[in-house]
Structure formats: C-alpha cells, structure tokens
C-alpha cells in the first residue's frame, strides 16, 4: 500500500490556495483505499485546480477546458477496472462544461468528480464564474454580478447523480471521507469542494466559509430525494448564511457500465478483437 500518491511535482497554486487542502484530502482518500496507483486515472480540465493531475503519480490526463467528464467517460467505458477521478474548477465543470455535467449525472457512470469550487475564474485572473454570488465585483463584473449562481448540488441531484456531497478544503479530513466514500460508491459521485481562491476572491474566504458551514449529522437522511433537494437549496433559502457539508444525496442505481449490453460482459479492453471468420460472416449478411 502506497504511503502517498503525490508526485514530486510542485503544484502551481498560490500559497494558501484552497486546492492544497483538496489535494491532501484526495491523497488521504487514496491512501485509505490503497488502490494500486497504476489502476487510477485522474482527469483534469484547465484552470488552477485542473492542474491537480500533475501532483499525483497515477495515470492522468490534463485535458482541455471543460471536457473533464467526456474524457473520463471514454476512459471508464474503455476500461471499467480503472478508478476514474475527475478534477477541475467551477468554471470548468459548471460553466464551459455544464452540458457534460448534466448528462454525465444522467448516465450514472462510475466516476468520482471533485469540483474545486472557488466561485471565481482563478487561472484567468479573477473573472466571474457560474457560482459567483450576486453582487460580487470581479474583473468581468466590476459593477457587481447580476446573474443567479448555479447550485451544483441541486442540479446534480435533479440531473440524476447518485452521490452528491459538499466538502470544504478547510476541513481536509472530512473532505477525504467524502471523497473516499464517493470513490467507493458505484455510480456518479459529485463532490463540490469549497476551495477558496485567496488571490482573486476577496469575498468567499476561509473565514467567510467557517462562519457559515456546518456538518450534517447522523440523523440526516441522504437517501430521501425530496429532503435532499430541500437541503440542497438551503444556501438559497438562508441567503448563504448556512452551508451544509457532508453527503447530501445518495441513491443506488445501476451504473451505465452495468446496463450496457457490451460492457455487462466485462471491461471493453479485455474483450477479444473479432476473428476473420466473424468478419466474413458479418459481410455475408450483405451479400
């Protein structure tokens, strides 16, 4: 069992960036699970957070902006035996990749998707993101943001994700548990990881979050969808005064690979290539 899955690559992040905490949490989750690192594929998009694949010594793809989930889907469909983990930012996942977010949830692919949600575009130096709160002044909204932010938790639940959680980079041990259970969960697991951008987001700071976050306790029933949706919109109903952390929704539903007629037979990469006889008999059908 590996003592760390981290690589020797120094992260690109600013000192104090929330992404360090998420990195530590993912590393801890992997250590706890003890998965062979050659059987892990981490896929990132583009952004500060999306560069995370380089900080691990597993297989990884540092792809293009917003396309974490399509690439991750291709990997998972090709080789079901790999543990596939998507990582990226809120811009990457909920903005440019928003279409994929909804449809991947619907498919219930067995992928764990960690979104480092800093409510800002970090790498491009501080423009508004889909989760930027109304009124926030950013480089692209100098007069204050006027668009309603997306609620990734309620969207994920509605779209059909089967494991939906929120964690906080300021509490990496708790976040690690959420990630670990997300990886263990059979199906599409979304973890919205609140991850402050200390350089470009002056509003949503560690302190701002600490005053608002609270952990769901054992009495919370994550399997009840109506209840979960109610909990998911607590950020709106309390005007961002209360931010629940923990597993908000969980459902057991067959994964895409369990339902697909071909993949039911086993991992695609292990299935044999057609023989010459098979090709010939296929062709005979056209004669």
């Amino acid at each position: 069992m590996a003592t760390s899955y981290a690589s020797d690559i120094k992260p690109i992040w600013c000192p104090g960036c929330g992404d360090y905490g998420v990195h530590a949490a993912l590393n801890k989750a992997l250590i706890d699970l003890g998965i062979d690192k050659s059987k892990i594929m981490i896929v990132g998009g583009i952004g500060c957070s999306s560069a995370m694949p380089h900080t691990f010594s597993t297989y990884a793809i540092h792809g293009i902006h917003g396309r974490v989930l399509p690439i991750a889907m291709g990997v998972k469909l090709a080789n079901d035996e790999l543990t596939v983990i998507g990582v990226g930012g809120d811009g990457d996942g909920y903005g440019i990749g928003g279409n994929h977010f909804v449809h991947t949830a619907r498919r219930n692919l067995d992928i764990t998707y960690i979104v480092m949600d800093n409510q800002i575009y970090g790498l491009t130096t501080g423009q508004a993101s889909p989760t930027t709160l109304i009124g926030t002044k950013t480089k692209s909204t100098p007069f204050g943001d006027i668009e309603e932010p997306i609620n990734p938790i309620s969207v994920a639940i509605s779209a059909g994700a089967t494991y939906v959680a929120r964690g906080f980079s300021g509490d990496p041990m708790h976040l690690a548990e959420l990630i670990k259970n997300g990886i263990l969960h059979k199906g599409f697991a979304v973890i919205d990881a609140l991850s402050p951008c200390v350089t470009f987001n002056a509003l949503n700071t560690y302190d701002w979050f600490r005053q608002r976050v609270y952990k769901l306790d054992a009495s919370y029933k994550a399997e009840d969808k109506a209840n979960a949706l109610q909990k998911a919109i607590e950020t709106e109903t309390t005007n961002w005064q209360k931010i629940p952390l923990g597993l908000i929704y969980k459902e057991n539903r067959p994964t895409y690979n369990e339902l697909d007629i071909t993949l039911k037979q086993g991992s695609l990469i292990k299935q044999p290539l057609p023989t010459k006889d098979q090709v010939r008999s296929l062709l005979d059908g056209y004669a």
Binding site: M41, H54, S57, T58, I64, P70, I71, I261, I269, A287
Partner: protein, 577 residues
C-alpha cells in the same frame, strides 16, 4: 457494357428505400454489378424523393445519367422525372392514381394498377413497391427466383405471411400483361456484397478492432452511428453523446485507455470537435475521426453532397501537429481505409481524419473484393512493462518522433498526458518555466519531436501520393475521394468518343509527398474535378508542388456529378486547349 438505369420516384414514407435496396441485392445476387443512390430531402414524410438503381455487366462507379426505366409512384414523380427519361425509355405508372401527358415520342408507357394489386394481395398499399419491383425485374431480364429467395430472407424474419405476400406481389408485377424483357445484362457467378459507404467504413473499422464509436446524430454520418448502435452485441460500445465535443473527447479518453476508438460527424459537428482534435495531436493519442461532408456553409443542404471541407480538416485546430487526412474513393476502399486508419493512428500516435461526403457515405455499391483476411492490426510502439525504476518518459525525444506509449493499468508506466506543453515525462513546462532559456529549448525540441512524425510517415509509407490510371492518356482528371467515382466513368464515355483521358486520384491527402506527387502530375494536361467553388484540391496541390491546375470542373449545387456532365465539360476544355 450493357446496363439499365432504373429510377423509382415518389414521396418520403412510400417505402422506396427498402425496395430499392432489395432490387440492388437481387441484381447483385443474380450476378450483376450494381450501384444505387437515394436522393432525398430533409423532411420525414412527403416531399419528392427518388432512388436510382443501375445494373450492368461491368463495375460501376456512378448511379448513371439518364433513366431507362422510371417507376412513378405519384404525380410529382411524373412531373419532375419524365424529362430525365432516355429516348425510347420506359415509364411504369399507376393509371388509377396518375396521368401522363407529354411523354417524348417513343417512350413506352406501362400502366399497372400497382395499388389495386397491392391491396388485393395484402391489403397493404406499401406493397405496390414490390409489384413495381416484379415488373422491373422482368424488363431488366433478372430471374424472379432470386427475388423470391431474397424477399424470403428479408421479410420472413418479420413474418412468413408478409414474405409470402411480397413474393406474390412481385410475381403479379412480373407477369403483368405488357411487361416484357427489354434489357439483356450478362451475368457471372461472382459473389458481391451490397454496401453503402458508411456500412463499408463501419465494417472496416470493426474488422480492424475498433471497439468504441461515439457520435451525435448528423446526416450523412448517421449511418455509421446506426451501424455501431445495432452491432453493440458484437462487443463494441457505441455512445451517443450530448454533443460532438463530448464525442471526440470521449474517443480520446477511450483511446488513451488503450482501445481502438472512433467518432464521426459532418462538418457542423466537426467544427465542434476541433479543439479536441488539437488535444489528440498534443497528447499524441491515436483516434480516428470521420467527417462526412454535406453541402455548406452552416446547416447548408443537409441531404446533399459537397467536398468543401478539405482545407478545413487539413488545418483545423490551433497550432501545428501531425495528422493524416484520407478520403476513400469507393465503398470498397472505405473498408480498406477504415481498417488502415487505426494502424496509422497507432503507429504515428496522431489523429486520422477520414474525409467522406454524402455521396460516398450513402451511395450503394456492389463490392466484389473485401479483403477481410488482409486486415492487419499493428498497434505501434506500446511499452508493455516498466524497464527501469525511473519515471516513464512517455514523450521521449526520439529520432523518428515516435515515443513509447503505455496503457493505463500497466504498473510502473504512469504518466500525465498534458494539453499544455510538456517535457518527456509529461510535466508542464507552460507555467513557471515558460520563457526560461532551458525551457524555451525544451519546448522547441518537443514541438520538433512531434512534427518529425510527418517525415517518418512520408519515409515509411508509400501512401501519400495520388494514383495514376491511364498513363498514356492526353488529358488527366485530378480528383480526391468521392469525385473520383463519376470521373472514372467519364473517362470511359470520353474514350468511346476517341478522347484519351486518364485520372490522377488522391485518397491520402495529408501529409502529401510533394516530390512523388510532383513527379506524377508534372508535364500533364490536368483538369481538376471536385465538389466545391474554390478548387480546394487544386489549392492543396499548388501549395505542395507549385503546380497550378487552371482547368477546373467544379460543382457546388449539392447534386452528385453524373459522368455525362463531367464528360461534356471535359470535351469543351479539351477542344479549347
């Protein structure tokens, strides 16, 4: 060559497509060469559609020019198609539904109560197609026993009753008074597959071990989508995606994980795939992308043909990276090219674009030779085991530009595939290192490594030049892909008139071996034939060889070239030279 051209015309929903396919199969199984093409519109019911079936005793490359037998299923069919009937041609129509006036002198009109017979035999009006089919078989001199056999194979899966009714309907048409054998087309005993371009391409990909196809529906590439979707039981995965961006990125994911993977679309979808294409180029993942062109720009004419995306696919995506572009010149070649494409993609770790078009994708061809045994699977430089304790240098700088690749799951060969510029290990050199002398040099070396693969391809493969046919000719058509087919037949028509034309045709377009290409083209009288306004092949040739082909036959009205129209324009050009 003896031949017959049959056009069945009616409305969408009349069942023309399935009876057209049936006729093609019957003619092919009875030992003839066949070619089919369906002209349709972007509507689901109604409209005016036709299906042309050409049957001959020689290999065909076109659906032909004028009509020998018109089967008119409605009044529109008479209005729009009568003028395309050859002098002395035949019109089959239903006198209880349609009227004919103004048919040219000598046209033979055969009125058959198609609908009444269909209703009598089965109660199902759709079977009037089969009645007409029977009549056509008699006129074309094709043995009805073969038809019975194929009708049985086709319909008995549904129900034996429907099969029997169709056999009865065909016999009624075959025996209808006034229907007499008119054409005599020699036959042989060779086996022929009846394949449209999309199917031939799909089967070729499957034969080569393609296990993953991702697509979003778009005419005229949808045939490939339907093929893979309906063959999932053969151990392939088809994924319909939310858009073409997903299709190509999922293909990159699957190929990265080690399976042979392909995606396909038309120009509009390819436009969305462009950024992904660059990703495949940068992280050196072998993918195959099919771009089946239709008439553009924008949504254009969704059900019509064009070859106006050549320069687009040659250059699509920012930056420079090796890619292979290839356009099959027949359905037969589509099989071969699809199977080769995966080897090339994996050997050179780059995207391969198969450039097709509506005519190529949807025309139907009787194919004699499909070399299933000749399909070889070459997976390129895959490292199966870790050889030392250090990190795996996935992007190792090599003399031929090709680096060793590992398949995820292999212990000890982990690496990051990065769309940012990277070093041999895949580590970013785009951030804190960018601009520092040592890394400026590293970027240069990595870019040169990737680009060197083009030299390696040109050195190792003898593919990247056109094919010359008819070396002794006075004039040469220059074509790529689909336009090669009608041009080949135009060569025959011209030779009947004593004009010696040859043809220089490209399937592989990029990279282009400038030296070999120049040698083939040099000193010849060349006429460029393609489906676009700006002569994109001619531009491509000029930029590689300096040869400027001034004489051009260009078509961009959406319709397929007929051999006759190419021949007529060529004659004018030749006479004026």
């Amino acid at each position: 060559m003896s031949e017959v051209v049959i056009r069945v015309a009616g409305a969408n929903g009349d069942g023309i497509e399935s009876s057209g396919m049936l006729l093609l199969k019957i003619a092919a199984r009875s030992g003839r060469y066949v070619f089919g093409y369906r002209s349709y519109q972007s509507v689901i019911k109604g409209g005016h559609v036709w299906y042309q079936i050409r049957i001959a005793d020689e290999k065909l490359y076109s659906h032909g020019s004028d009509i020998d037998i018109l089967v008119a299923l409605n009044q529109d069919a008479i209005t729009y198609q009568l003028k395309h009937v050859k002098e002395g041609g035949i019109v089959i129509y239903d006198p209880s539904r349609t009227t004919i006036s103004g048919a040219p002198q000598g046209t033979k009109l055969i009125g058959i109560p198609l609908l009444d017979i269909a209703t009598k035999v089965s109660g199902d009006p759709i079977m009037r197609n089969t009645v007409a089919l029977g009549a056509v078989l008699r006129l074309a001199g094709i043995d009805i026993a073969v038809a019975d056999e194929l009708i049985n194979e086709t319909f008995s899966k549904k129900s034996q009753q429907i099969a029997d009714q169709n056999i009865k309907a065909a016999a009624e048409g075959y025996n209808f008074a006034g229907v007499e054998r008119t054409f005599n087309i020699k036959n042989d005993s060779r086996r022929r597959y009846v394949l449209d371009g999309n199917t031939a391409l799909s089967v070729g990909a499957y034969a080569a071990g393609c296990k993953f196809y991702a697509a979003y529906p778009m005419t005229p590439a949808s045939g490939i989508l339907h093929w893979f979707a309906s063959h999932e039981n053969l151990g392939v995965v088809f994924k319909q995606t939310e858009d073409e961006i997903t299709a190509i990125n999922a293909t990159i994911g699957a190929a990265s994980a080690g399976v042979r993977a392909m995606c396909g679309t038309s120009g509009g979808g390819f436009s969305l795939m462009v950024e992904g294409l660059g990703l495949a180029g940068m992280i050196e993942v072998p993918i195959v992308v099919v771009e089946a062109e239709r008439t553009g720009p924008s949504t254009g004419l969704p059900t019509k043909t064009e070859q106006a995306d050549l320069l687009f696919v040659n250059h699509a995506a920012q930056g420079e990276f090796p890619r292979i572009v290839v356009a099959p010149r027949s359905a037969e070649e589509s099989f071969k090219i699809a199977s080769e494409a995966f080897n090339l993609a994996e050997m050179y770790q780059c995207p391969v674009i198969i450039l097709s078009d509506l005519y190529m994708a949807e025309h139907i061809e009787g194919v004699e030779e499909i070399d299933a045994d000749g399909v070889k699977v070459e997976r390129g430089r895959v490292q199966a085991e870790a050889t030392n304790d250090g990190r795996f240098d996935r992007y190792k700088i090599t003399d031929d530009g090709i680096s060793p690749r590992s398949i995820p799951g292999t212990p000890g060969l982990e690496f990051v595939a990065a769309s940012d510029e990277h070093n041999e290990y895949g580590d970013l050199i785009s951030d804190v290192f960018a601009g520092i002398d040592e890394y400026v040099e590293k970027r240069k070396r990595m870019h040169e490594k990737r680009m060197r693969k083009i030299d390696t391809m040109l050195k190792n493969e003898d593919l990247f030049k056109p094919e010359l046919e008819g070396g002794q000719a006075d004039y040469f058509f220059v074509t790529f892909g689909s336009a090669t087919m009608p041009a080949k037949e135009a060569v025959k028509l011209l030779s009947n008139e004593g004009l010696r034309f040859g043809i220089i045709s490209f399937s592989y377009l990029l990279p282009i071996d400038a030296e070999k290409t120049l040698k083939i083209l040099n000193g010849k009288k060349l006429i460029d034939v393609e489906y676009n306004f700006t002569g994109q092949l001619a531009q491509h040739i000029k930029s590689a060889t300096g040869i400027n082909i001034e004489k051009r036959i260009l078509k961009y009205d959406g319709e397929a070239f007929t051999p006759k129209e190419i021949a007529e324009q060529a004659k004018l050009i030749a006479n004026g030279w």
